[in-house]
Amino acid sequence: MSAILQGAGAGAAAALTPFNSIDSNKFVAPSRSSLSVRSKSYIVAGSDDGTNKSFGSSSLIARRSQPLMIPNAVTATKADTAASSTSLKSGHELLLYEALQEGLEEEMDRDPHVCVMGEDVGHYGGSYKVTKGLADKFGDLRVLDTPICENAFTGMGIGAAMTGLRPIIEGMNMGFLLLAFNQISNNCGMLHYTSGGQFTIPVVIRGPGGVGRQLGAEHSQRLESYFQSIPGIQMVACSTPYNAKGLMKAAIRSENPVILFEHVLLYNLKESIPDEEYICNLEEAEMVRPGEHITILTYSRMRYHVMQAAKTLVNKGYDPEVIDIRSLKPFDLHTIGNSVKKTHRVLIVEECMRTGGIGASLTAAINENFHDYLDAPVMCLSSQDVPTPYAGTLEEWTVVQPAQIVTAVEQLCQ
């Protein structure tokens, strides 16, 4: 939060397109005191198919000292009586990377065919600690330290999957998986089809991506846009410890190849998740905050920017409906459609590039399917089409900031 006010001087703002400019004077940063009123917040995970999900209380810690800004979640009271009457089951608190690890460990316990391969996943414990402790527990044959050859070890994972194993291939950074694009596109996505259904490829390809803290252009890539056209794969993006664990488990159990997008900056999110086993539907979007005036579709880290903007918007009198789409391929047009039919206005906030990103596909899909329900054109806020610069101030402006979201909503709701 503070970084925006410090960095976005009037000069800097004016240099950018009107779309991105903010008047920093008008911008209201939510103070800590206003949040203390809502000490207990619930994140509601919507579900239409009645899957049993319990709620966890979410107290996301904003760490000023660490380079990670996580605002508190906004309260949501859903009208779904069955859901809201469920009291908080006993849960345990953990960080997002621990949730991923828990999901991974549970699945490895459950099915001996599950194995993990990637760089430094074994003895080192994983560069983001997602696989910490697994090598000690399961041994070197199930948690495999590979040399640095993404093309080959992705291919090997896919070859092993053809025989029935269920490997989880980790790209230390999603950007490195570009080296394995051939294997992911041709072999992972298409083998089930070209073999006439003989082979299934139950792999999970996962890794952190997204714009981090001054990691440089090559380590700040968003590969969702590149992979989305590959037929035969599914893509999901996790954003909270709850859905991280749920999606990880679902992805491992799925017979289709699934690419699980994590975000470098979200690994230290803390949340309380249920003790009992649960799975998130791979194709379902998550209703973060129901509303009436406008539908905001987002995923991964931008969810938090949206929620931050939502607080401002609520203060200004707007009632945004925030949906974390989670499933990037295929889109959950059922949830999205119901929302559009209710609010008639759509804003997409994503971290992908403007050109050919997930937002572009989603805009096309919404326009094609729900054109009659729209009162305004679908607006899409995406990252700028530039390589991510190193300088902190510049990097901030490559991605969408809450202030821009506020402006966009005001513009759409005129």
Binding site: G159, H192, T194, Q198, F199, F331, A365
Partner: protein, 389 residues
């Protein structure tokens, strides 16, 4: 004359068709020892002996299956020219000894994965002529339901993993299969075939490094036909000794036109891989056709070279000479066998031609495995059913 049925032998020679051989004099399993044409050249290992154990039945088997493969490829050539086969068609004639020799040395539990020149290997693994021709012509009865084509033949129950179009990409897949075999403690090996052109792919060396590091039962087989499409090996590789390119991985150079040398080498390689980890086999072979049907094959090599190899090293001729010299059949009987084979192939083609094209709904099947509710095909869950004319 004893009626002999050449049935499947325990060492896994594929019988893609049932044929009653009621014309041959001796077809029992009396052992015959055959000397390979050339000695093996080894790198970091002791080469196997040149004497190969075989039998009269195996010899005749080799002849018949190779003649069938040859006939099938020639027929595919005509079908392509008649525009019944479209796209890419890579023919294997000249290289049959590699497919046959390999099958003779292994079982159906051992996996084979290859690139796009896969028709004969598919046949060797137990595929039928009907499946081959149907797939080539894009019919429903094809091994991949008509959706794969020439470059995507697969046979899961015989551990044949295809059938891949991108040069070199199958080698990491093959090492992955070997990994799974080790993981499941299967006592089986994987043969990952690639060509001299693919031998320069980086992912090969990456996969080889991992296989050697993790002691995987992977055998990399370079089918060196000396030309990567139009580029001769000496123009593409600084070191055309492909069997040595594994550096720390042992290698063996084999005369790929001699089915028995191939058999011996594959047996040796399997034993090696199960005990000591990966090994590279280089099969010195030759293809008579061009790289594919769109390549005449004569712009980068002379016709004299092609006919020279055909005269001196043709694998079927070699087996024929062995059969005749061991008195296993007469010339006439072999000619009759070839006629029979021709008829078999023609029948299979006719049957495949009658086969229907896939249903329009097949466009959308097998994109995803159904489960966890996946039913969509595009990002917007729209299953657009195109009405085909």
């Amino acid at each position: 004359m004893a009626l002999s049925r050449l049935s499947s032998r325990s060492n896994g020679i594929a019988r893609p068709f049932s044929a009653a051989f009621n014309r041959f004099i001796s077809t029992d399993t009396t052992p015959i020892t055959i000397e390979t044409s050339l000695p093996f050249t080894a790198h970091l290992c002791d080469p196997p002996s040149r004497s190969v154990e075989s039998s009269s039945q195996e010899l005749l088997d080799f002849f018949r299956t190779m003649a069938l493969m040859r006939r099938m490829e020639i027929a595919a050539d005509s079908l392509y020219k008649a525009k019944l086969i479209r796209g890419f068609c890579h023919l294997y004639d000249g290289q049959e000894a590699v497919a046959i020799g390999m099958e003779a040395a292994i079982t159906k539990k051992d996996a084979i994965i290859t690139a796009y020149r896969d028709h004969c290997i598919f046949l060797g693994r137990g595929g039928s002529l009907h499946e081959v021709f149907s797939e080539l012509m894009g019919r429903q009865a094809g091994c991949s339901k008509g959706k794969g084509g020439s470059m995507h033949f697969y046979k899961k129950d015989s551990s044949f993993y295809g059938g891949h179009g991108i040069v070199g990409a199958q080698v990491p897949l093959g090492c992955g299969i070997a990994f799974a075999q080790k993981y499941n403690k299967e006592e089986a090996v994987t043969f990952a075939l690639y060509g001299d052109g693919a031998a320069n792919q980086g992912q090969l060396f990456e996969a080889l490094n991992i296989s050697a590091l993790w002691d995987l039962p992977a055998i990399l087989v370079c089918e060196n036909n000396h030309y990567g499409m139009g580029t001769a090996e000496w123009r593409a590789a600084k070191s055309p000794s492909y069997y040595k390119r594994g550096d720390y991985v042992p290698g063996l150079k084999v005369d790929g036109m001699d089915a028995f040398a191939v058999k011996q080498a594959c047996k040796f390689a399997k034993d090696h891989a199960l005990e000591k980890g990966p090994i590279i086999l280089e099969m010195d072979t030759y293809r008579y056709h061009g790289h594919s049907m769109s390549d005449p094959g004569s712009t980068y090599r002379t016709r004299d070279e092609i006919s020279g190899v055909r005269q001196e090293r043709d694998p079927i001729e070699r087996i024929k000479k062995l059969v005749l010299s061991h008195d296993l059949a007469t010339e006439k009987e072999l000619k009759d066998m070839e006629k029979e084979i021709r008829k078999e192939v023609d029948d299979a083609i006719a049957k495949a031609k009658d086969c229907p094209m896939p249903e329009p709904s097949e466009l959308f099947t097998n994109v995803y495995v159904k489960g966890f509710g996946t039913e969509s095909f595009g990002p917007d869950r729209k299953e657009v059913k195109a009405a085909l004319p």
